[in-house]
Symmetry: C2
Subunit: 364 residues, 2 copies
């Protein structure tokens, strides 16, 4: 088979440590399963700032554009907290999303049965939880203009950001949610704050229209974002596919993933089509952040990164079988009782990043 291009961007904090475990699995797939990939790796975030003085270089963006998929670690480093706004580490992921037009971020919140006790919620509330938040990622207040901080005549300041959504931006991400719902439970809940924000009102209108025109087989409901934050705590299993804007999606998907109690387990995919290209682009990354507090200690959980690789194999390389093998290996390792510190229960002796990675490899 033709060689696939994968760009690895480990980033900051625990990123490089967990990426190393995913790479071992790629090596195994090459040796044992005939995977034909052309790997390249580069720096982003604080790591790139340290070497190149920018959070991401244009040539990294260019490499990402021609890659079949990007496997991303995480960015964010307190060492760079006082840099100018446009040079902060986070710009790396924001530019990748924007420049590759990765507009739909799929964030599953799935509870792994053997980890049920890790959730802060009662078992009866979260058992079997398996929802998917589709978050818009190239629009909204993250990218709207005008933006910035201006100084007023009296020397005090004014910070401004702009939330913008167009019909086209809302439609394309809603389509992803509806299509996904057809493969799942056939239900979509669209979330906005249309009782206060006109951009949310338009969001609701556009989703409603699209539903009527093309997806009337799917059940569509609407929920205000504040109510949604409550409902996710009260009874998260009422949801299957959810679709929402960039900012609400940021909060609600983090909230939803924490319901599972095992953030270190959750992968995500961000999909889109770069402008001027007919190729689908995709970036895969753990839901968790760079966790600077535990970086370099060798104790981070590599499973979200490994499961992100599985998603990459399935959705970008059409290697669903390899993906299933990896997912099964992760299940087996968990069933065998192995735990990193983040998912360890009282009494467990946690293993480190390397050991967990090696165990998955062995289970393959």
């Amino acid at each position: 088979s033709a060689s696939h291009k994968i760009l690895l961007l480990p980033g900051d904090g625990i990123g490089p440590e967990i990426m190393a475990q995913a790479v071992k699995i790629i090596d195994w797939l090459k040796a044992e399963r005939g995977l034909n990939v052309d790997l390249s790796e580069d720096l982003v975030g604080g790591a790139s700032l340290a070497k190149y003085d920018v959070p991401i270089r244009d040539e990294v963006i260019a490499k990402a554009k021609v890659a079949d998929a990007v496997l991303f670690g995480s960015v964010g480093d307190p060492a760079w907290k006082d840099v100018p706004f446009d040079r902060r580490p986070e710009v790396a992921i924001l530019r990748l999303r924007k420049d590759l037009n990765l507009y739909a971020n799929l964030r599953p919140a799935k509870l792994f049965d053997p980890l049920l006790s890790a959730s802060a919620l009662k078992p009866d509330v979260v058992r079997g939880l398996d929802l998917m938040i589709v978050r818009e990622t190239v629009g909204g207040v993250y990218f709207g203009e005008p933006r910035g901080i201006e100084t007023l005549p009296d020397g005090t300041k004014r910070g401004i950001n702009t939330e913008v959504y167009t019909t086209a931006e809302i439609e394309r991400v809603a389509r992803v949610a509806f299509d996904l719902a057809r493969l799942r439970s056939g239900r979509v809940c669209s979330v906005e704050k249309g009782n206060v924000m006109e951009s949310g009102l338009l969001w609701r209108e556009v989703v409603t229209d699209l539903h009527k025109r093309e997806y009337s087989d799917v059940t569509l409901t609407h929920m205000l974002a504040d109510n949604c934050a409550m409902q996710l705590v009260r009874d998260p299993r009422q949801f299957d596919v959810m679709v929402t804007g960039n900012l609400f999606g940021d909060l609600l998907s983090d909230l939803a993933s924490m319901l599972t109690g095992s953030l270190g387990m959750l992968p995500s995919a961000t999909l889109g089509t770069p402008v001027g290209s007919d190729k689908r682009a995709a970036l895969y990354e753990p839901i968790h952040g760079s966790a600077p507090d535990i970086a370099g200690k060798g104790i981070a959980n590599p499973l979200a990164q490994i499961l992100s690789l599985a998603m990459l194999l399935r959705y970008s390389l059409e290697r669903g079988e390899d993906a299933a093998l990896i997912e099964q290996a992760v299940s087996d390792v968990l069933a065998s009782g192995l735990r990193t510190a983040d998912i360890a229960a009282a009494g467990d002796t946690p293993v480190g990043t390397e050991e967990m990675g090696a165990a998955v490899l062995k289970a393959l």
Copy 2:
């Protein structure tokens, strides 16, 4: 003592039913405790739309301005979901906040011990939870200009809202949080999304500066809003006083209150100083909404409204003793096992709104 002016605005849905129970307690305080108040009542929200074709009349705003305090029920009514944006029921509360310059919304999330089992969270995670979110309520994306929906040349649309915060707006609400922290645990956590939004970056700067200048005895921490949503689920008791903008405060305070499992119990206060006045204005309301699904059935929990009255007595009328009496009566009634449907456990026979109100009155 001089007569205090209280404006009652029951609003929509369950608002009138629960307000009626609070009024009975006011009557008791007049008869038994020498409370000297001058009550007036008016329509807001859908109720006002039905009679006057506007969600709130200017004369109601004027009455609110001269009142010592407003006791508010709730607004929101699906019957008015298709009215133009500036006529929706919610405009009533938004205008009251804005026109009275009620910039600091104090939202406690306090767990009532006898209701511990009502929470979706494990008892060990939420036992004794008692945090306070100070939410900015007259700025941010709720009121920023430009805003609206415009039609593009091709007939599709564009929805716009603007998030704006100035140094002065941030400082005054942060002050409320710091002052409150001095009366509580001495800790404030400030929440924004300064890694993505310049308005959040300014928020963090201004809070940091104010802290350095005037409140260095208080412990200040900062947290990103997405992380905060997670931390509220993972370990809510790490927080005491939190301060955040209008939109994040909307989501995070609803989330926090749901952690207690008893939304029907939680009061709130919104404080400020009308421009051109030297009098402190205040509005007290339950955290829960108008609950149209159970409106008119006589089963709503009146306790959040009754506890809102207690807050009003304490903070606006300097009648802390009366407030304490009411709070004690509510505790006693809960301890006696009485439950409305929303806080009933399996096996309880829930009582209705009237019965619960009467029980509090009797316990006084």
